[in-house]
């Protein structure tokens, strides 16, 4: 038995050396906290990231081969969907929530506006399977990929096995998304001491720290928690957020706190995309808070901001736009693979 195991492990070692050599080093700002994603269980390799990138941009994941992940998570919108309040799916179906921006995902411990998903590996199952998004099953996706000529060799390179499996599809998709790190905004250059804020931005930063930082916590600009930020229910959607998952009354109307990075690329805002401008969001916090039993304690009273202060705050928020990330070729459509 022991000899058998030794022989097997030598064979698997040789195979793994032959196929998986190129580890991908995830780089991020030194002032970022430790990632929450467990990279030991799914170590990044260039081959897996490449495969994940092909899958991310390939509409083969949807039932009628028309919608890819990038349809609603476009690289030019910081992987959100500018202009669309609610997400789109196959056959022009419209969802119930705004497609969130995808970056810095290694620092999240739950996913979706309501935290329905507990691990990045499993996140893709939701849009793939949702009838109003991709309307497909992971089982069919696996079969379709097996018969599309480009994929078996990519799976072989990435996982040492040309047989496509659900596990490998999901892990590869997670790997590509993990490489989407946004830490190159002006704010980051200031943190690194390369430039300084203008007086207006500096004033906006002070206001941000006073009024916003407890939920939109630096340097990721989200605390990863759920909160009711005082939005009245849209009665065309009746979306109660986190409550749908936990069925606990204290979770009614709580939604995941989104990051404030890349706001210029990710409008409209809020879980249902109800606000088109950053200014509208600030106006909500100064005069639109709708109180219920679950409203965040920081928002029990409207924020007090003058018109000039709002302008300064917006100036600061724009320093969180990361052009380097949004226009980085390496995250974009993999022409060499998908044509």
């Amino acid at each position: 038995m022991r000899i058998g195991i030794t022989v097997l492990s030598i064979i698997s070692f040789v195979l793994s050396v032959a196929f998986i050599t190129d580890y991908y080093k995830l780089e991020y700002a030194e002032y970022f906290p430790e990632p929450l994603y467990n990279f030991e269980k799914n170590p990044l390799t260039t081959e897996k990231v490449t495969l994940g990138q092909a899958l991310f941009y390939d509409p083969i994941l949807s039932e009628d081969n028309t919608i890819s992940c990038s349809s609603c998570h476009s690289p030019y919108n910081a992987f959100a969907h500018t202009d669309h309040d609610l997400s789109h799916g196959i056959r022009d179906s419209i969802g119930t929530r705004n497609a969130p921006a995808l970056f810095n995902l290694a620092w999240h411990e739950s996913f979706m506006w309501d935290g329905a998903i507990n691990h990045l590996d499993m996140q893709s199952l939701a849009p793939i399977s949702h009838p109003g998004e991709m309307g497909e099953t992971i089982k069919n996706v696996v079969e379709k990929l097996q018969y599309k000529a480009i994929y078996p060799p990519l799976f072989l390179k990435a996982f040492g096995d040309s047989t496509v499996t659900g596990e490998h599809v999901l892990k590869a998709l997670a790997q590509f998304q993990l490489t989407l790190v946004s830490d190159g905004a002006k704010y980051d250059a200031v943190k690194r001491g390369e430039v300084t804020f203008s007086p207006q931005e500096a004033n906006g930063y002070a206001l941000f720290q006073k009024h916003c930082n407890s939920c939109h916590t630096e340097p990721l600009f989200t605390n990863g928690q759920f909160a009711n930020n005082g939005l009245p229910v849209d009665t065309t959607l009746n979306d109660y957020g986190r409550w749908i998952i936990t069925k606990k009354s204290e979770d009614s109307l709580l939604f995941k706190v989104p990051t404030l990075r890349n706001l210029s690329y990710t409008f409209p805002y809020m879980h249902d995309g109800r606000f088109r401008k950053i200014r509208h969001v600030l106006n909500h916090y100064t005069e639109g808070i709708h109180l219920t039993s679950t409203t965040a304690k920081q928002l029990k009273e409207n924020l007090e901001l003058t018109s000039n202060e709002k302008t300064d705050l917006v100036a600061f928020l724009l320093t969180l736009d990361d052009k380097n990330f949004v226009f980085d070729q390496k995250h974009q459509y993999p022409k060499a693979i998908l044509n």
Partner: protein, 227 residues
């Protein structure tokens, strides 16, 4: 050279076969007291009032005990049993030779840690249709079919029992005494499920919660050693 290699190979095979022992477990669904098999109409049925079309569940974390002492625990012990693949109902444990044991313990479902640890392959691969997509988590036990008394559309009942977060963790541990060390048959009584669950009143359980937890408590009584 080839001769030597051949000898080494044969020695290995002899050594391996001498060192490993086997213990077989056959799970047998019973309905109205009789063992039922998946028939050509793709159902388990007896008198026609209730027809079971889907029966899929996880058996995991298998351990063997001699008295109070743990003598064997299976590595990566996750098995998906599916009536559509009758062979999945026979498990083969590679136990060490001359192992004595008096009881077996296993879980029905998938543990919480696995539920929060991302993607897995094999029996845990999400392509097996035992992973929820709208929220994370494995379905521990899936039972679907048609019952004359079921008021749902097309008389269909659907029980998807799962969940991993307190207080609604339906993972149940089963412990059974055994008298042989080569092969056992474990009966799974469908009758006991339908004695407690009234398909006329409760016919859809498809999310974690109180109802799924209550349903899962039945598991501790439906498994027994076949005599």
């Amino acid at each position: 050279m080839r001769y030597i290699a051949c000898h080494v190979f044969l020695l290995c095979v002899t050594y391996l076969s001498a060192q490993s022992s086997e213990f077989f477990i056959n799970f047998q669904p019973t309905f109205e007291g009789e063992v039922v098999v998946y028939n050509e109409e793709n159902r388990l049925e007896k008198d026609g009032d209730i027809q079971i079309e889907t029966l899929k569940f996880y058996i995991s974390n298998i351990e063997l005990f001699n008295g109070d002492q743990l003598v064997f625990s299976e590595k990566d012990s996750y098995h998906l049993l599916d009536i559509e693949s009758p062979e999945s109902f026979s498990l083969d444990l590679n136990t060490p030779p001359k192992l004595s044991f008096t009881s077996i313990k296993f879980d029905v479902g998938v543990d919480s840690l696995t539920n929060v640890s991302g993607a897995f392959g094999g029996d845990l691969d999400p392509t097996n249709g035992m992973y929820w997509t709208w929220q994370s988590g494995y379905i521990n036990f899936k039972l679907e079919g048609v019952a004359t008394d079921c008021p749902a559309r097309h008389n269909r009942f659907v029980y998807h029992i799962g969940g991993y977060e307190a207080p609604h963790r339906p993972l149940q541990t089963i412990e059974l005494g055994i008298e042989t060390d080569t092969e056992i048959a474990i009966e799974i009584s469908m009758d006991k499920i339908f004695e407690t669950i009234n398909v006329a009143e409760q016919y859809h359980i498809m999310r974690p919660g109180e109802e799924a937890l209550a349903f899962s408590k039945l598991f501790t009584s439906i498994f027994s050693i076949s005599k």
